[in-house]
Symmetry: C2
Subunit: 203 residues, 2 copies
């Protein structure tokens, strides 16, 4: 009945400090695992208790960070201009969407890695995966000639898994643009817009 009580000033300040510190730490370290909660608390200049009260647990913190970073893209997808936005025809929007996801994972490897490899929780049982998947599936459904959009959507998203992206970028030294093009071609093949075989696909 009563309105939500506004949080205290120091609480919000600390919350922001923690997010900033955590972001920096994750960006610096190789493996997300060697950033401990204590490290983050120390870097933010707060106690560990504060950390857990603000975000619940480790996963909560990481997810908050992740979704903050994701928000611009989410906006661009939900209400931005084509080819990402809703006005774009599916045949263009699907590749644009996957490209956006890929770029996001490239730019935020550490976070994505931390979230997807967060031990116990499957990356699939998260709200934002559900969102991406549903959107993608619905778009695929609008493209004539495609079947099993549900599984296809999963498979396409699987091609942008954070650890795969990290492996290709860091270990195999695949340049960013090359990777984007490979994913684009892969997507095109599935959508039937591929130029392979040298026949059809034009005019």
């Amino acid at each position: 009945m009563v309105a939500e009580r506004r949080p205290r000033k120091d609480a919000t300040r600390n919350r922001a400090a923690v997010l900033t510190a955590a972001d920096a730490l994750f960006a610096q370290c190789q493996s997300p695992e060697d950033v401990t909660m204590a490290d983050i608390a120390a870097a933010a200049g707060v106690g560990k208790g504060t950390l857990f009260r603000a975000f619940g647990d480790r996963t909560g913190l990481i997810r908050t960070l992740y979704e903050a970073r994701l928000e611009p893209i989410r906006n661009a997808v939900e209400e931005g201009p084509p080819p990402l936005g809703p006005a774009a025809p599916p045949i263009q929007r699907v590749p644009a969407l996957l490209d956006a996801v890929l770029c996001f994972k490239l730019d935020n490897r550490h976070l994505a890695l931390a979230l997807e490899g967060a031990g116990s929780d499957s990356p699939y049982r998260t709200e934002h995966y559900e969102r991406w998947h549903t959107l993608l599936r619905d778009l695929l459904n609008l493209i004539p000639g495609l079947i099993e959009s549900d599984f296809t959507a999963h498979a396409l998203l699987a091609a942008t898994r954070a650890d795969l992206v990290e492996y290709l970028a860091d270990e195999k030294r695949v340049p960013r643009e090359e990777m984007r093009e490979q994913l684009a071609n892969f997507t095109a093949t599935i959508l039937g817009t591929s130029a392979r075989r040298g026949v059809a696909a034009e005019d």
Copy 2:
């Protein structure tokens, strides 16, 4: 110079006991994380030290188990009859291979999950992933009209990731046969052997 000294009898016996016990425990429990090393040692009737001397660390144990289970399939692929074996034409062998991988992951969810989600170590920097990937890539290269076999091979394998498979099977209740067919159709689309669009693809 000297030949490798053969391990003592009790050592090999214990090693086997540990593998058996670990296999059983992983099969029983939901999440691989709630099988601890101490649990395994206790179930096998040995001390924890034995466990670590035999396998190095947790990942080593799991990998040993995993590869033991994988061996039949590996054999079938390397020297078995078509469509899995080397005699099969690539256009048939690729789908057969992916189907085999999928079935393996379905049958050994717990192990695959334990290995792929083994925290620090990327599932991509393992020897057996390299094997699967190389084989698949080379096969794709033999199929005319396909480009970027390297990335495509990664993407196809990503569609059989253990956590995705587990999610679809356990959470979404997708029946085994349905999943196999979905993957088969997905593969067919990429290989250009798909029947979608109702045109071509026959005769």
